[in-house]
């Protein structure tokens, strides 16, 4: 297993449309394991392959308290979304920035697991929000896209400044 580098906004690769996985093989499983390790290390609760520079429709999530219930969503698709609520979100690709986003409160979704088996499930609460957030990544969308242009510009400036500072420090 290996830690992967997480792309930071405004990296253009975060805007790519990810392609469906055609076969869940050992290569995909290795990607899943590395993504889980990377997500746990970064203390995230969800990570999309897009965020580690792999344009494939692969997502890992763990919203459990004990951090011991990893979920693998390959080619995930939302079948039904109901309710709406606004809640604060953050993103490993936009460190340190949080803002309110309105999302469906309940989703029904399908995906393939790490063995390539299809499953269907309902989710609510943090898990439902996280699934929507990660699927957005696969479509090149970020949670800040739901904010006003002014706010988005401010985030962009902040991230660019952060990059400069990190660059200067190393």
């Amino acid at each position: 297993m290996a830690l992967l580098d997480i792309l930071i906004y405004p990296d253009p690769r975060l805007r790519e449309q990810a392609a469906p996985v055609t076969r869940v093989d050992d290569g995909v499983r290795r990607l899943v394991d590395d993504m889980l390790e990377t997500m746990y290390e970064a203390r995230g609760i969800g990570l999309a392959a897009t965020q580690v520079g792999v344009a494939q429709r692969v997502v890992v999530i763990d919203v459990s308290e004990e951090r011991d219930q990893p979920r693998v969503l390959i080619n995930p698709e939302i079948l039904e979304a109901t309710g709406e609520a606004s809640g604060e979100e953050g993103c490993l690709s936009i460190p340190g920035y949080y803002d309110d986003v309105a999302r469906a409160t309940r989703v029904r979704y399908q995906a393939l697991d790490r063995n390539g088996e299809a499953y269907e499930e309902s989710a609510e609460g943090t898990l439902a929000v996280c699934i929507q957030h990660e699927i957005d990544h696969l479509d090149g969308r970020l949670f800040i896209d739901y904010l006003s242009e002014l706010k988005r510009k401010r985030v962009r400036k902040r991230m660019e400044k952060r990059e400069r500072q990190l660059g200067a420090a190393s």
């Binding site: 308290e65 809640g87 604060e88 500072q165």
Partner: protein, 430 residues
């Protein structure tokens, strides 16, 4: 997506309160689901303590750094006072607390201050510095509030301030129709929650340590409710009788509505509140107790918009107020209120009294209550009202508090209770 560390979420909660004027409850509600469940108690302990002791904690930080720029940088200020509270009031191992705070400083884009955060918090964990013991700092009150309390309660105000900073007990109310207080205490003890009886309300049980509401045996059936002992005095004072029409004019979240229906299930209750959202909490509370009321979203000060013209034999007016009697449960109130609020509230309270009084049947009883300890909102409102209404006669007291002419003031800490004011007015005539 990220789940937020409890210390980072705590910074945002404190900022929301101090910078955006949100209540601590609102801010916690918005941020709590960002942290994993296990960390929520820490988030709560951090933010309550930091807001309770804010000026004292700031003084401690100031004593350890020559810099003052942190005061003008809201996230950094919040991070430092939270860190100071963690060192002073919580028993976190110093290493974990300091390194986590430094990491949060970086994540907040305050890398340049991380050295200072590290140095100040390390020192705070070794030893609490001496700070000036002027009264606002010692009592952790904004100067205007300390002064206001001193003028209102020249002898009692230090005790009031001390009670305002004490950790509040978790007090339960037992529905005595479902089983005695003794039975409830035994049931709780069997689940490991020991308690002692309250000294004022015969339905009160005070838990020795707080219990998550969901784990309270008998909560779902309405046998047990969470309610401070002072608030438990409202329904007995209202004393509704079978068949009477009762108005609960500012009902949300419905603790007192449930109480008065549990005490007298044979009365018909109309519960009014401005906020439809908060009115749903009333319905939820009543559902738990298996009772029902006519819940109406409306402005109590404008009865024309919701009243059906049928008089009420009892009216409970638990008026919106500054909340200065419940600072121990809502430390954010200290920083959210302004000097002019007492007068502004008093005007609204008088308006409510004037609007609702005509709805009271002759011979009926109105109970006016606030969780304020400012005389402007309490005896002054009621005295002026009684002076203008010859048909309004003061009735009995709640069995606690000191008589203030028209009404009774319970000061915070009296018999371990929240600060509360009760006045009972009866309408002369037949």
């Amino acid at each position: 997506m990220t789940a937020v560390s409890p210390r980072e979420a705590a910074v945002r909660v404190v900022e929301r309160v101090l910078e955006r004027g949100e209540t601590l409850d609102e801010a916690l509600e918005r941020e709590a689901n960002q942290v994993v469940e296990r960390d929520r108690p820490l988030l709560q302990a951090l933010t309550y303590g930091a807001l309770r002791w804010l000026p004292r904690l700031e003084a401690q930080v100031a004593a350890l750094t020559p810099r003052s720029d942190w005061r003008r940088d809201p996230p950094l200020r919040a991070l430092l006072v939270l860190g100071a509270w963690e060192a002073w009031g919580l028993s976190t191992p110093p290493h974990a607390a300091v390194s986590e705070a430094v990491a949060v400083a970086r994540r907040l884009g305050r890398s340049r201050a991380s050295g200072m955060v590290n140095a100040v918090l390390r020192k705070l964990h070794k030893q609490t510095p001496e700070v000036a013991e002027d009264e606002p700092t010692r009592f952790a009150l904004p100067p205007w509030l300390a002064e206001h309390l001193r003028r209102a309660w020249p002898e009692d105000w230090p005790a009031i301030a001390e009670a305002a900073n004490a950790h509040p007990p978790m007090t339960l109310r037992v529905d005595l129709r479902q089983g005695s207080r003794q039975n409830a205490a035994e049931r709780l003890a069997a689940h490991g929650w020991t308690s002692r009886p309250g000294r004022v309300s015969d339905a009160a049980l005070i838990l020795d340590r707080p219990c998550p509401v969901g784990e309270l045996p008998g909560f779902e059936s309405g046998w047990l409710s969470v309610q401070d002992e002072a608030a438990q005095l409202a329904a007995p004072l209202l004393d509704a009788q079978p068949g009477e029409r009762v108005l609960d004019a500012c009902a949300a979240p419905g603790g007192k509505t449930l109480h008065l229906l549990q005490q007298q299930p044979e009365c018909r209750v109309v519960a009014v509140d401005r906020s439809a959202r908060r009115l749903r909490q009333v319905a939820e509370n009543l559902r738990r107790g298996g009772v029902a009321a006519d819940c109406i979203a409306g402005d109590a000060a404008d009865p024309e918009s919701w009243w059906d013209g049928q008089p009420f034999q009892r009216i409970l007016l638990d008026a919106p107020c500054t909340g200065t009697g419940v600072l121990r449960r809502h430390p954010d109130i200290k920083w959210l209120r302004e000097p002019s609020d007492a007068q502004r509230m008093a005007t609204a309270q008088r308006r409510l009294l004037e609007a609702l009084w005509p709805l009271l049947a002759p011979g009926g009883r109105l109970v006016y209550a606030t969780c304020s300890i400012f005389p402007e909102e309490n005896q002054q409102v009621v005295s002026a009202f009684v002076g203008d209404h010859a048909e309004a006669v003061p009735g009995p007291g709640p069995g606690a508090g000191r008589a203030t002419g028209t009404g009774y003031q319970i000061l915070p800490g009296e018999a371990g209770m929240d600060g509360f004011f009760y006045a009972c007015l009866e309408r002369r005539g037949t």
